[in-house]
């Protein structure tokens, strides 16, 4: 590849990728009242704060934002803990048929979400869990476990079993071995798994629109979709401001923990 060709190609790609982001920012900045029905290409004033406020209060993104933060943090933590315990059982402890347990838990990631939806809906309607925060948290935790388990297990198999042996000889209990040896040594791996599952839960739309309805229960992506459907009444600047708001947590997480995140993905490579 010639040097010039390469530079032009990369520059072209960067521009292509930047234009939508630029439009997102510029139009989210435009005061909603001054929007003329066509995308703006230059900054038309500073209405961002107003737009964010409208999206946050009127469209109910604020309530959903808090709900989603709760889901993502709690379910991410629970999923990673539960997955780490299961990985501990499958890798370190003498569980019969480890392969069976592995596939049983891992099978959760293989099937598309659609496969679980209808029965889950029925289950939730019967159990009174439909449209409750606890109901969504349960299903998010369950949904996040398999892949977290996959990541954690893969890393746990690389730890030397001598560590466990030595601790056992010293008379440590399983609980002690888990908390004092495996959890501290796996801190990076557990962190990557948490970031993964936080992002997955935060970005979920399908479970959210299926299992909840009221604004203070609905996850944030569902709220954004509702806002988008009410296009006419609010106008694009407010919707794009909403898109900006919902992107902040994952964007921050990604920018801060990029290395950890990518190592997490590559760890799932084999």
């Amino acid at each position: 590849m010639g040097r010039t060709v390469r530079n032009v190609f990369v520059a072209g790609c960067v521009v292509l990728w930047l234009i939508p982001l630029y439009l997102l920012v510029v139009n989210a900045l435009t005061p909603a009242a001054e929007y003329v029905g066509k995308p703006e290409w230059t900054v038309q004033g500073l209405g961002l704060w107003e737009n964010v406020k409208t999206a946050w209060d009127v469209a109910g993104i604020g309530d959903s934002f808090q709900a989603s933060l709760l889901y993502a943090v709690v379910c991410g933590l629970v999923a990673v803990l539960v997955a780490a315990m299961a990985a501990f059982a499958v890798v370190v402890l003498p569980i019969p048929r480890p392969a069976f347990w592995f596939w049983l838990i891992y099978s959760g990631t293989l099937f598309p979400l659609q496969m679980f939806l209808a029965p889950l809906f029925g289950l939730y309607a019967d159990a009174g869990l439909y449209d409750t925060r606890i109901g969504l948290m349960l299903v998010y935790a369950a949904w996040a476990v398999p892949f977290a388990f996959f990541l954690v297990r893969n890393q746990m198999t690389t730890m030397s079993p001598e560590l466990t042996e030595a601790a056992l000889i010293d008379g440590a209990s399983f609980g002690r071995i888990f908390w004092r040896i495996h959890v501290p040594l796996m801190r990076a791996g557990l962190g990557a798994a948490f970031i993964f599952q936080f992002t997955a839960v935060w970005n979920d739309l399908l479970l959210g629109i299926t299992l909840s309805r009221s604004p203070d229960v609905q996850p944030v992506m569902a709220a954004l979709t509702t806002l988008n459907n009410a296009y006419a009444s609010t106008g694009p600047p407010v919707i794009l401001a909403g898109a900006l708001i919902v992107s902040v947590p994952t964007l921050l997480l990604f920018l801060v923990f990029r290395g950890l995140f990518l190592r997490g993905i590559t760890a799932s490579a084999r």
Binding site: Q155, T210, A243
Partner: protein, 324 residues
Amino acid sequence: MTGTATPAHGATKPVRVRRRVPTRTPHQAAKAGGGRLGGPLAALPWALPAFALVGVLLVYPFFRSVYGSLFEDNGFTSSYTGLDNYARLADDPVFGRSVLNTLMWVAGTLLLPVLAGLLIAVATHRMRFGGIAQLIIVLPFAISGAATAVLWNFMLTSDGAVNQVLRGVGLDSWAQTWLLEWPQNTLAMIVASTWQATGLNVVLFAIGLRAIPRETVEAAELDGASGWRMFRHITLPQLRAVTVVVVGMAIVNSLKAFDMIWILTKGGPSRSSETLALSMYRETFRLFHVGYGSAIALVLSAIVVASSWMYLRHQMPDTGTAKS
């Protein structure tokens, strides 16, 4: 690459000697240690929370869904109809279109983001400001699918930014009602999802490129390889491990694509841009054809599992089966 779970105990399995010293692998260590780790039930409490969550909320609904696909079920009454739902699928014109769209998504999201990702990664590799270019291209990946969809909705509507640009540069005839006609609505959405998904591939390929030993490249250079030959015979084979992951993820994700389509077109107009993932949702939760929806979901699951299994088995003969 942190090459982790290589099938360690698969490789060291034929250890026949019973030893009291710890062996290399955990399971064998446990067996050889003869009960020092407690009975086989001691591990169960540790696996139980995961089993309970996954079993009750994922595995049970899965089998319930398989069973439910044999019923004509409108949410209130249900009657056993055997394989009728599947027979109906074969006759349903929407299902045919839906399969076609799903295939387009798979082809599109395999070709575009993977090729673009590879090209951009190779081009930015060891380039000045290459890291910055990579970061810019990966930014959309950190934005959620729903936010991306909202943004592209804004760009693709009839008086949106894309048409504005086309008219601005004098290509009026290229301006389209992007989301209102098939097939360009599906194609436009594939482009939008390419915009979002390419970045991750770029970064993964970049990691793979950095892992290529310098000596390999230098040796090839000494042998007179450069440009295309270098890429074809040195770079590409060395990127194999990454490519397996990238393509594997692309297959699964494209089959499940939902957010983008649901927000941009809701599968419309008149269900022309529906994929299997959308069809299932509409049949079950909009039209209350629960059994029929389950049948679609099962077809989709079968395709996802079969394609990823075939792909992985083909690409990773050494690790594909040894994941125990």
